[in-house]
């Protein structure tokens, strides 16, 4: 062993005795403890809620034209495109002006238990009737409520299409007959801290 190596060892020993390796690490963790803007936690669901970006693929929505007619023409392309075959479409004739053509969907339902949220149905739809929306709180008490029907999906989504998303909005809890809902207040938003 030469001189240099010996000195090196002593330095190492001093560092070891002084616990410099631990201290360096603890300085970092302690630094995060004291500075308040490093808190990245989103207080979901009590106070805040994440509003996803526009391309988000959440619960399906069925869209209408501006004058309220259903865009779906029951062509069944979405159910053909679906890798898991979880969309059921049964067409019917209706010339009362419910849809944009005389052919409308009698049944349009999607089984969310099997859905992969891949968005292929959205890509397949020739009339842009089905779209994966930004609703993501899909937990429910039994399997039946995971099957969503046309009526439910035709309801407008809480997050409007114009909003680009990617923000944390203020939220509060609301009790409904089906359970508790998180209602976001879209006027009060902030960026997520990084």
């Amino acid at each position: 062993m030469n001189e240099g190596k010996g000195r090196f060892d002593i330095m190492e020993l001093i560092k070891k005795v002084l616990f410099t390796d631990f201290v360096k690490g603890l300085v970092i963790t302690f630094g995060y403890n004291v500075s308040m803007d490093s808190v990245i936690t989103v207080k979901y669901p009590d106070e805040e809620k994440w509003i996803p970006y526009r391309r988000f693929r959440g619960l399906h929505t069925l869209n209408r034209t501006a004058d309220g007619r259903e865009l779906c023409v029951a062509c069944e392309l979405c159910s053909k495109a679906c890798p898991t075959r979880c969309i059921t479409v049964i067409p019917m004739e209706d010339n009362t002006g419910r849809g944009i053509s005389d052919r409308v969907a009698k049944v349009w339902k999607v089984d969310l238990v099997r859905c992969l949220f891949c968005g292929y149905c959205e890509d397949a739809c020739p009339t842009r009737a089905v779209r994966l929306g930004r609703e993501y709180e899909l937990a429910c008490f039994d399997r039946n409520c995971a099957v969503k029907n046309r009526e439910e999906l035709l309801r407008p989504q809480p997050v409007p299409e114009e909003m680009s998303g990617g923000v944390v909005a203020k939220a509060r809890l609301r009790t409904t007959p089906d359970g508790i809902e998180v209602v976001a207040d879209l006027s009060e938003t902030r960026k997520r801290r990084v």
Binding site: P52, R55, F56, L77, A81, C118, G119
Partner: protein, 396 residues
């Protein structure tokens, strides 16, 4: 082998570790023969998450299988998408546009960062350093936000498609990547400050699970674990795909082949991935991001409304898919865990006749016995973490 110590003779017992063990990765079940605290033999028992992915592929159109590949290595799903679509493209013999290539590189590297961050976070957690997991998750969350912006999903991305990508890489995404490159290096240094010099971390990892280069090659190891053994093998460099040959990046290698080197390799790879993303985003050309073959990539929606021919292509694509020529292909990429290969046999139809996945987690797990023989029981945790197996991929 077993009765070395005459003074304390213990009986060899078999210990089942997992699949519910808290520090086991996913649903790994290890059957350990132990003599006192020392491992005599370790055998992984896999298959708890088997979903028949390869069989599912035989029943789906080529383009419909992409969402299933997300569920293989769910920590870095972009790489799986890439491996699959790339082999289908090879089978079809099509060349994707330049822009799509750059987008794919940037996306794949983002998912490598996400994968490695979680690997290191979980590893540190398993060895008792909880804060690293929290920090790594914070950074991973940022990467996932970019993914959400890019393709609308955080984990199961389904972003790539045969012939290109599904959505454009917008300026917003580019800005987010730029911010990430600004933000991350100091954070990664923080992890290194906490871990690399820490005596506990060193003791738990240095000299543990040593594999020589020769052994590693014999056992079919790949990815960062192989490079830590000193073998400079990275498919991105050695058999470049996409545009990796035009980008400037280094392949880190280790010397000792122990857990500590594997950790250092992963850390360095995160940094190198950021270098790649910076270049890919900078050099990304404008232009189309899908091939101009209407049978494989149906025309964009606005065309479908106006143009009868486009509408026919759209209907045909959705309802029947496209036919691939008869033949067999194998194509592989460097996924965060190692070599991820997809082998497709086509009988000329619109569904694969047979699809085989060469998943790195499965292959890498073969080395567990070689690494843990003669080690202590507690070292097995470090060894498994250093391989970073993901069971969606291993059990398929």
């Amino acid at each position: 082998m077993t009765e070395k110590n005459d003074l304390i003779a213990t009986k060899e017992i078999t210990l089942h570790m997992g699949p519910q063990h808290p520090s086991m990765h996913g649903v790994l079940h290890l059957i350990l023969d132990i003599q006192g605290e020392k491992i005599v033999h370790a055998e992984p028992d896999i298959g708890y998450l088997h979903r028949g992915t390869e069989k599912i592929a035989e029943n789906l159109l080529y383009h419909q299988f992409v969402p299933y590949t997300d569920r293989l290595d769910y920590m870095a799903s972009m790489s799986n998408n890439l491996a699959y679509v790339q082999s289908v493209e090879k089978l079809l013999g099509i060349e994707i546009p330049e822009r799509a290539k750059y987008i794919r590189v940037a996306a794949a590297e983002l998912s490598r960062i996400a994968g490695h961050l979680l690997a290191i976070g979980a590893w540190a957690l398993d060895l008792g350093a909880m804060s690293i997991l929290l920090y790594a998750m914070r950074e991973r969350e940022y990467v996932l936000d970019i993914f959400e912006m890019l393709c609308g999903s955080r984990m199961t991305l389904t972003y790539l498609r045969v012939g290109g990508v599904r959505y454009d890489f917008t300026q917003e995404c580019k800005d987010a990547c730029a911010r990430m490159i600004e933000l991350f290096p100091s954070r990664i240094d923080e992890y290194e400050t906490i871990l690399t010099g820490n005596r506990v971390w060193i003791q738990r990892n240095k000299g543990i699970g040593v594999l020589t280069a020769e052994q590693a090659l014999d056992l079919g190891l790949s990815g960062p674990a192989l490079r830590a053994s000193g073998v400079k093998w990275d498919i991105r460099k050695d058999e470049p795909y996409l545009v990796y040959d035009r980008l400037d990046f280094d392949v880190p290698t280790g010397t000792n082949g122990d857990c500590f080197d594997r950790y250092l390799c992963r850390m360095e790879e995160i940094r190198q991935s950021m270098r790649i993303i910076r270049q890919a985003v900078r050099d990304m050309p404008d232009g189309p991001f899908n091939v101009d073959i209407p049978e494989i990539c149906p025309p964009p929606k606005p065309d479908v409304y106006k143009n009868m021919e486009a509408l026919i292509h759209h209907f045909k694509y959705v309802s029947q898919g496209f036919k691939a020529p008869k033949g067999e292909v194998y194509s592989s990429i460097e996924s965060p865990k190692g070599e991820l290969g997809v082998y497709i046999v086509s009988d000329g139809g619109e569904k694969p006749f047979r699809l085989k996945l060469r998943s790195p987690s499965f292959m890498n797990l073969q080395t567990v016995n070689a690494m843990s023989e003669g080690m202590y029981l507690a070292d097995v945790i470090a060894i498994i973490s250093s391989l970073d197996p993901v069971f969606g991929e291993c059990d398929k």
